[in-house]
């Protein structure tokens, strides 16, 4: 065993340097964000910047502990780590402290912990462990389902807290599955689902269904190269839908257009099935299946949106989609965020010179909206520097992942990369109005012990695996 001698030499220095830079820059920005004239000392422990220093020191100690642990520990005990984290997430429902309507925190005296932050690396580990054995078979349904299960379990548990931000983060791990061989169709379907999700909220269901149906017949024409077939299909739909529509109109309590269209499509399916069977037209079958599942999906989305999302989350999505512009409601945060970032201009106002009274206007400015301070005080240059650092870190992580010998280490590396990527993209995106305001922290920058520790452990486990990449894990 030579690891104790080599471990510090073999740790990837560029990643460590970027990590340290980010943590320190984060700390200074928190200082600037909640700066208080009465407490000018950056090490004033009654203030968030003082506390963040403690979290940083603790994070560094954690990093060292992770590094001195044998790499094989993570390989052999990933199930245990994952199991503990799942149990923690379940225990939240019983012992969690409710803050802002969600149970995401444990409170131990003066320290609060957010288990979902630790569940992220645990899930990446578990997925890596599973894929280590099954990676070449990800095209098979039986193999892919447990992998999705590993992701879905913590995703559902966090969704129930409810903490939509963390839920979305777990889904980022699907990128790992794609890298390891999952069908691109599944991946494309996933992207399609996201697009349909927004369209379902933007348009009336029946409008969207009519558009999709029209699109389907257009595709049929392209696939079969017979205009007649497409027109005949459309004719069948009209022949069934028309009378149904008229009949429905004469009822005292007419059903929704939406329901009429669903019934029409399902009934016409019987006629299409005959055609598909006769002509062995597989392409048409696929199109029909896609159409029906899309229609069912958009109805599910609408139903879930109306019945399960909490009103403030609904509002956030609605504001992002431009349904609502309420400068004193949820959109107010975004407006304030845009103003502070935008007012930074090209080179920013300088450290502690952010004159926006953000203290009052952007509530989470030291946590989820920390980027506002960066944008305002360091301007476009500072913003690009942050994006650049992340780009460097993410690409570096891919490079490190690709040089691993073991599938376990590689897939874990991709897991770390995916989770950091989604955090980074959503967090920055929300402060500049590209994505809905979803409350997730900017890794290494945002104030808070749990997230900093979670990301530190996650990153350093990978660095530890990378340091031992020449050794055999088993």
């Amino acid at each position: 065993m030579t690891r104790n001698i080599n471990i510090w030499k073999r740790v990837d220095k560029p990643v460590v340097i970027v990590y340290l830079l980010m943590v320190i820059m984060g700390w200074f920005n928190i200082y600037a964000a909640v700066f208080n004239e009465e407490h000018r000392e950056i090490l004033d422990f009654s203030q968030r910047y003082g506390k963040q220093f403690i979290w940083i020191v603790a994070a560094l100690i954690l990093a060292v502990l992770v590094m001195v642990t044998d790499a094989r520990f993570y390989f052999f005990f990933y199930w245990v780590i994952y199991g503990i984290m799942i149990v923690m997430l379940i225990l939240l429902f019983f012992f969690g402290k409710e803050i802002n309507g969600s149970r995401s925190w444990f409170e131990f005296g003066f320290v609060s912990l957010q288990p979902s932050e630790f569940a992220k690396f645990a899930t990446a580990l578990a997925l890596a462990g599973y894929l280590n054995y099954h990676r070449q078979e990800l095209t098979r349904f039986r193999i892919i389902m447990p992998a999705l299960g590993i992701i879905l379990l913590p995703a559902i548990l966090t969704a129930a807290q409810p903490d939509m931000g963390s839920t979305i983060v777990f889904f980022a791990l699907i990128l790992v599955l794609f890298r390891e061989g999952m069908s691109p169709y599944v991946f494309v379907s996933g992207l399609l689902m996201i697009i349909l999700f927004f369209l379902a909220l933007l348009l009336d269901n029946y409008m969207l269904e009519l558009i999709l149906t029209g699109l389907a017949f257009f595709l049929v024409w392209l696939v079969t190269r017979k205009l007649k077939v497409a027109l005949a299909g459309a004719g069948i739909v009209l022949l069934i839908g028309g009378p149904l529509f008229m009949l429905n109109h004469s009822l005292n309590e007419p059903a929704s257009y939406n329901l009429i269209i669903i019934i029409t499509l399902l009934v016409s399916g019987l006629f299409f099935a005959y055609y598909i069977y006769q002509k062995k037209a597989l392409g048409v079958l696929v199109i029909y299946a896609f159409l029906i599942s899309s229609v069912l999906y958009i109805n599910t989305v609408d139903f879930v949106f109306d019945n399960f999302l909490r009103s403030h989350q609904k509002e956030r999505v609605e504001i992002m989609l431009g349904f609502k512009s309420d400068p004193h409601g949820t959109g107010y945060n975004l407006n304030q965020s845009l103003i502070s970032i935008g007012s930074g201009g090209f080179s920013g106002k300088g450290f502690l010179r952010g004159t926006q009274t953000k203290f009052k206007f952007v509530p989470a400015q030291s946590t989820d909206f920390i980027f506002c301070t960066v944008g305002e005080e360091w301007g476009f240059l500072g913003s690009v520097l942050i994006v650049g650092m992340y780009l460097f870190l993410l690409l570096r992580l891919i490079k490190l992942a690709e040089r691993q010998r073991s599938v376990f280490s590689r897939t874990y590396g991709y897991g770390v990369m995916s989770i950091l990527f989604i955090h980074f993209f959503i967090n920055l995106g929300m402060t500049i109005g590209l994505v809905p305001v979803i409350g997730i922290p900017l890794p290494f920058f945002s104030y808070g012990g749990s997230s900093l520790w979670g990301f530190t452990i996650m990153l350093f486990i990978f660095l530890r695996l990378d340091a031992s990449r020449t050794e055999h894990l088993i």
């Binding site: 390891e180 061989g181 009274t357």
Partner: protein, 612 residues
């Protein structure tokens, strides 16, 4: 194992690079390209100024303005933007001491270093004009316009309520409110706060280091305008209200006048009142303390917070219940020999029927009647008969809150049988035990508002609408005030009792309230004298007019004055005349003069002085 999918890393790398390019492009747009988000100079700062909406106006039923707004100015400070300045000059201009200055600055800094807070409240327009010229010398300070209430006439304070700054409890209860916001207290201002308050807006300004406004930020693209609150049309008749307050000057007591057909309150007077202007602006807290300390309780709204025994004005109700329960008929006569058992009576002709009983206000008649109600063989016990009697009273609105807009109205009291059980044991009490209820004395208590409502119900021959002071708010009428409450007494029985009330005012010898008669309008009324253990009796009068198709129902209480006929009746008749004719005829001039000159408070304090 061979890695079949290694090439997919390029797809992932491309995706990440594209994402970063999108982020940078968007950052470039909002930070470098777009003017909307950019500030012209480094020293410029944004100032968020809350745009406070003006409260809605309040009109009376005839469209006369009752409450409107006047401008005032709050001096604001942002501690982080202050710098060295001539503090002495500043304090001199604002007429404050340097100690106050230091104290206020400290408070502002404690609240927030970067957010604005109020430094000095409600500077008058004159001081503002003076100060504004020098404001550039005081960086970090600026002036925020506010509005204060102004009243067209110094009347109706108890109906209108007042406006004050929100306290912490209200801020916690409703996140709409922020420190420094105004909120309605009592009266219409509180009951219709949501309609009146309007919507706050925000204006963003560019300000230079000398606190000078350099223009609006992003050409106002981020601003929202404040929207004034909805106007309210009250049911009050401002002239009648003013006249009533004049009549009640130097007297304690209350007047409530209602339009029977709608339940709309025409006037609501509690005397002594106060000028609503006293509770506006910086002087409010000082004046409030003074008013609270006044022994005549000007802040106390007697109209619905004071509960008195109704006295003889209650007799018509007992007559109605007896008729409906069929224990008497209109022709039932009782003789009176200066009273009944231990309840005395004045001298009048005897025997009397129902009409005569009401006209002469014969105590004996109503004691006998009440006895018949409670000893009705239809019921198994006195308790049961009493419960039935009590249920009629509840229908008239006694013993429960009427649910007007006023949150602090009193329910009054009609004791449950359990009350008497406690003193006399179960079934240990009989009609004679509670006989004082027959003439509206004893444990029963009702507010002037409840008495006016009872009068309205009699005027309507058996129903009422919940009394209310607001006709429409923001163009919408309150639907809950359109519910008709019917009393389970036949209208024919009402006609019989109304004949008695008509006779009490317009009858011949023995009529108790002839002073309230008008030459060309049939007024129906009933006097009352409420025994007062603490001093002279209270004088009470209820009336409605005209007899057919009544337009006004009124209850008048004059405390510590004596007989109902002497004080309350002329006040009521003057109010009715004022409302129906819009002016007082020469024939009534002497009544008006006498009532205006009557000073019961002065007399009382004179007496007090003599006693000492």
């Amino acid at each position: 194992m061979k890695d079949l999918f290694a090439a997919r890393k390029y797809f992932i790398i491309a995706m990440i690079i594209i994402a970063c390019v999108i982020l940078i492009a968007r950052l470039f747009v909002i930070q470098v390209v777009k003017d909307v988000y950019r500030l012209s100079a480094d020293n410029n700062v944004l100032r968020y100024v809350t745009q406070y909406p003006a409260r809605g106006l309040i009109y009376d039923r005839n469209g006369n303005l009752m409450v409107f707004n006047q401008a005032a100015y709050d001096l604001m400070v942002i501690p982080s933007q202050t710098s060295t300045m001539d503090t002495a000059l500043f304090c001199e201009d604002l007429e404050i001491s340097t100690d106050v200055f230091r104290e206020r600055m400290k408070a502002a800094r404690n609240y927030s270093y970067r957010a604005p807070s109020i430094f000095l409240k409600q500077i008058s327009a004159e001081s503002y004009a003076k100060f504004q010229e020098k404001i550039f010398m005081f960086p970090g300070f600026y002036v925020q316009p506010r509005t204060l209430r102004k009243y067209s006439k110094p009347v109706g304070a108890h109906i209108l309520g007042y406006v004050s700054e929100v306290d912490e409890i209200q801020i916690k209860k409703d996140p709409y409110y922020k420190p420094g916001d105004y909120i309605g207290k009592l009266g219409i201002e509180e009951a219709y706060e949501k309609e009146l308050r309007g919507t706050k807006g925000v204006k963003i300004f560019l300000v230079d280091v000398y606190s000078r406004v350099k223009g609006s930020y992003a050409e106002g693209a981020m601003d929202t305008a404040a929207a004034q609150g909805n106007d309210i049309i009250s049911s009050i008749d401002l002239d009648l209200q003013e006249y009533g307050e004049r009549l009640m000057e130097n007297k304690t007591g209350s007047i409530v006048a209602i339009e029977p057909a709608s339940g709309e309150i025409l006037a609501l007077i509690s005397s002594p009142g106060y000028d609503p202007e006293l509770l506006v602006g910086r002087a409010r807290s000082e004046n409030f303390l003074k008013l609270s300390a006044d022994t005549l309780l000007p802040l106390f709204n007697r109209a619905f917070m004071a509960s008195y025994p109704p006295g003889s004005t209650f007799k018509p109700v007992n007559g109605l219940i007896a008729l409906q329960e069929k224990v008497i008929v209109p022709s039932t006569s009782f003789s009176c020999n200066n009273g009944y058992l231990f309840v005395g009576c004045h001298s009048h002709s005897s025997p009397l029927d129902l009409k005569g009983g009401i006209m002469n206000s014969c105590n004996a008649y109503f004691c006998q009647t009440f006895r018949r109600i409670l000893e009705n063989p239809e019921y198994s016990s006195v308790t049961e008969a009493y419960e039935k009697w009590r249920s009629y009273l509840t229908q008239f609105g006694f013993g429960t809150k009427l649910e007007t807009e006023f949150v602090n109205e009193l329910p009054g009291l009609v004791p449950a049988p359990a009350y008497y059980d406690r003193f006399h044991g179960k079934n240990g009490w009989r009609a004679l035990t509670v006989i004082s209820l027959a003439i509206g004395q004893g444990e029963i208590g009702a507010t002037p508002l409840q008495m006016a409502n009872m009068t309205a119900a009699i005027a309507n021959r058996g129903y009422y609408f919940t009394p209310h002071v607001v006709r429409s708010a923001g163009g919408e009428e309150g639907s809950r005030f359109r519910t008709r409450y019917d009393i389970e007494i036949d209208s024919a029985n009402f006609e019989e009792v109304i004949l008695g009330m008509e006779a009490a005012v317009n009858g011949g010898a023995g009529a108790t309230a002839r002073i309230a008669a008008m030459p060309d309008v049939v007024v129906c009324g009933k006097t009352g004298t409420v025994q007062n253990p603490h001093g002279k009796d209270h004088s009470v009068f209820i009336a409605f007019a005209p007899k057919d198709d009544p337009e006004i129902a009124i209850a008048v209480y004059v405390e510590n004055s004596g007989f109902g006929a002497t004080y309350a009746a002329p006040v009521a008749s003057l109010m009715i005349e004022k409302y129906l004719k819009k002016e007082i005829s020469a024939a009534s001039g002497w009544k008006e003069k006498r009532m205006l000159e009557l000073d019961l408070i002065g007399i009382k304090s004179d007496q007090r002085d003599e006693e000492h």
